[in-house]
């Protein structure tokens, strides 16, 4: 009988560069994601990092990249397979069913997708990973932070309010029109500037978010796949990464000993190497040729 366990890992992420995890834009200004919370002194808006974003950047993306890097891919991967690996796939086939045999094959070959879940063309694959929302360490959130971290970790200091941890950026973008002007026509070009200013909100570098993951009914291979992905994560999250925004430094609280973590990761790596041909064949058959 297989040994199933549930694991909880708490993560602490410090922003090393401005964080632009956006809710949307207002005109040419981007606005960061916030949520309304109730505090002792009334309602307040505080910045957040969504669980979905953390799950994608810290687990799905690094985990999928590792698989693709290790498979012997000669002619590239079909878009539908890449979509499943990096975005979770989509249910598009008529007459969706629940094929347990197929599900077991997927779980055995690709434990990362037992953790993450996703969607094959004809059936939904539920995941076992719960990703918590990133909670900013600020005055408004202290009671929430206290409930997540071990007892005695949160000091008795007064911490700044969230709005002090929000700043802004302003960049300019050249209009494509200016780049199209050839050197011969410079003299006839209009004299006015064509730089567009755009700006937005950021969470300042140094801000700390507390979040975490709960892995339910996991096999050792699932835990290995999950930890392996966390270990490979670059920690880049949100928009404007091309300009250096969104760099997180993450540390973890777990009951697992270092040697145990290394063992679980090593077992997963061996599994990926041993099953690479079968995994690829499964995905091409079940997704690309479906």
């Amino acid at each position: 009988m297989k040994d199933y366990r549930s694991y909880k890992i708490v993560a602490i992420s410090k922003a090393l560069s401005p964080l632009t995890h956006n809710r949307g834009s207002e005109g040419n200004e981007t606005v960061i994601a916030t949520e309304e919370i109730q505090t002792e002194s009334g309602a307040a808006q505080v910045p957040i990092i969504s669980g979905n974003a953390l799950r994608h950047c810290m687990v799905r993306s690094p985990g999928a990249s590792y698989l693709v890097d290790n498979w012997d891919i000669k002619d590239g991967l079909p878009l539908s397979v890449l979509n499943f690996l990096f975005s979770g796939g989509s249910l598009w086939k008529k007459g969706a069913t629940e094929n347990v045999k197929k599900l077991r094959a997927l779980w055995d070959l690709l434990p990362l997708y037992r953790v993450l879940g996703g969607s094959l063309p004809d059936q939904i694959v539920s995941g076992t990973l719960e990703a918590w929302r990133g909670v900013l360490v600020c005055a408004e959130n202290m009671s929430r932070v206290e409930s997540i971290l071990p007892s005695g970790w949160v000091p008795n200091w007064k911490i700044m309010r969230a709005r002090r941890m929000i700043s802004g950026y302003q960049y300019t973008r050249n209009s494509p029109r200016s780049k199209l002007i050839s050197s011969e026509s410079v003299e006839s070009a209009p004299d006015s500037s064509v730089q567009m200013i755009y700006n937005g909100q950021t969470v300042i570098p140094g801000a700390v978010f507390v979040h975490g993951y709960c892995l339910r009914d996991a096999r050792e291979l699932d835990v290995g796949a999950f930890l392996h992905a966390l270990d490979r994560a670059t920690g880049i999250i949100g928009a404007m990464s091309g300009r250096g925004h969104g760099h997180l430094e993450t540390t973890y609280l777990t009951d697992l000993a270092n040697a145990e973590i290394a063992e679980l990761i090593s077992a997963y790596e061996s599994h990926v190497k041993a099953t690479s041909a079968d995994s690829l064949e499964f995905l091409l058959k079940e997704i690309a040729d479906a």
Binding site: P150, W153, R161, R164, T251, Y252, I261
Partner: protein, 142 residues
């Protein structure tokens, strides 16, 4: 390898965000409206379009914050430059000295809070500052 967090490590990470005093939104509101009024007073109507005064003051605030959010002298100077203030009038205005004096009694945390207020409540600061300016005009100071 996955790096683990310790209690001390966590406390060290958040130590920079500890504060001794509570935020002071009323003071931020007062100072920012004084700045808006000050900029309106020194807005150069001979060089710039008088109708664009409030748009120009808003961009002056944004420019000031972008150029220096931690140095009040550079912050105020860059805003004055943005509204093309006449240097002779600006240096003889007591309000300039008083604003510099207010900022000199604050620390980096206060400035962070003030900048954050000004950035997130620019429109409100401008509305209050404009009302202040209108009062000032009625009182004959121009």
């Amino acid at each position: 390898m996955i790096s683990k967090e310790s209690k001390e490590g966590f406390r060290q990470k958040i130590a920079g965000f500890a504060i001794e005093e509570e935020d002071s939104p009323d003071v931020y509101r007062e100072i920012s409206s004084r700045i808006v009024c000050f900029l309106a007073r020194h807005y150069n109507r001979d060089v710039l379009d008088p109708k664009a005064i409030w748009q120009r003051i808003e961009s002056a605030i944004k420019t000031g914050l972008a150029k220096s959010s931690d140095n009040p002298e550079v912050f105020l100077s860059s805003m004055l430059e943005h509204v093309k203030a006449e240097i002779g009038r600006a240096v003889s205005d007591d309000e300039f000295t008083e604003l510099l004096s207010v900022f000199s009694h604050t620390d980096a945390n206060w400035m962070k809070g003030f900048n954050s207020y000004l950035m997130t409540a620019t429109y409100a600061a401008m509305v209050i500052g404009r009302a202040r300016w209108e009062e000032e005009k009625k009182g004959g100071r121009r």
